[in-house]
């Protein structure tokens, strides 16, 4: 059986949980307490992920795959959630790289600090202000893309949507106001109404 090395509060972990559930693939979820650095133990670094992060997908044959968006690609390859056409497939990846570079570091980190009770020092406040600006810029890029479109790529729900849904739909928990982003909000509703959708809190 597939195992998912995971943390329930993680939007990156949620991407994998959501897709596995939508595919009806049974999996065993192994929870790590990231506040206690359980993904940084020598055993974890040696056996599961030298980068000390979850999620990591463990295949039925015991191979380990880190990086949430690589997990999405692996699971969706050959399904309707990942276009076959070469340019569309590259566009899906383009949005997933956008997510990891321009979106997640700015939108997920404020949520993590707030919801995990990290002390906001003067230094962190300066970082937070910069992330706020860059996070809103990323939401602006999405708004422009989603105006007049149903989904990010090819008019069909794909893993690009899952990758960006994960932290966008809880951006408010990090202090972001989605009010000025109507196309993003309509798209969030569209994603949430897909068959097999589960909330981020479902383990």
């Amino acid at each position: 059986m597939i195992r998912l090395h995971d943390n329930l509060s993680s939007g990156n972990g949620y991407k994998a949980r959501l897709l596995l559930t939508q595919f009806g693939i049974p999996f065993e979820r192994i929870e790590y307490d990231i506040d206690r650095s359980e993904t940084r133990t020598p055993e974890f670094l040696e056996r599961i992920n030298p980068n000390g992060r979850v999620p990591v997908l463990e295949t039925a044959s015991g191979d380990f795959l880190p990086e949430s968006n690589a997990i999405l690609f692996y699971l969706a390859d050959g399904t309707a959630f990942l276009p076959e056409e070469k340019f569309e497939r590259a566009q899906v990846l383009s949005w997933m790289f956008f997510e990891q570079y321009s979106h997640e570091p700015n939108i997920a980190t404020p949520r993590f600090w707030i919801t995990h009770g990290i002390e906001i020092t003067a230094e962190r406040r300066a970082v937070l202000e910069q992330k706020r600006e860059l996070g809103y810029a990323a939401l602006g890029v999405m708004e422009r893309r989603l105006a007049g479109r149903r989904f990010l790529v090819g008019d069909r729900y794909s893993i690009a949507d899952i990758a960006l849904y994960a932290y966008t739909h809880v951006a408010n928990e990090g202090g972001f106001d989605l009010g000025p982003y109507p196309a993003v909000r309509a798209w969030l509703d569209r994603c949430a109404s897909q068959p097999g959708h589960i909330p981020i809190t479902a383990g």
Copy 2:
């Protein structure tokens, strides 16, 4: 003809230039002065990339593809530079997402600040120290992976190697010392000896 919207000092742009050259694909390179924000003009944001960044690949049919690693995937799809086997293909992507999340922001940014003459304020110094620590951690992850291996995935030069070569081989320009990373250094030499290799400064 393919066009590459680019900046010559960018390691992300270099990834695309290197692969296009190794494939012998002719392309027109369009240079943007990022110090003068030429990728943030209304026209660029409207027509080329709403995220205001290069590289962007413009296909022969006039479609635009941002994100360096998505460009690599698009160009390498169906070639020996991207494994056909499903898990290996996902591993290539896993290393490319590692590059954009854990490696590039920490290793490329110090180089950018230093080589573009950005003033190192007290605030930037604190950020730099953190990036130094995280950058060395990323190099440590690579060192562990490359000890006893020729390339990152499947014993063959792939776009995962190109993605990580781009900023690792100029990490010293950002103040990183690769001395303690012998497996990384041997791998850099291996990448540089591939047929069709060009330096980052080749336009």
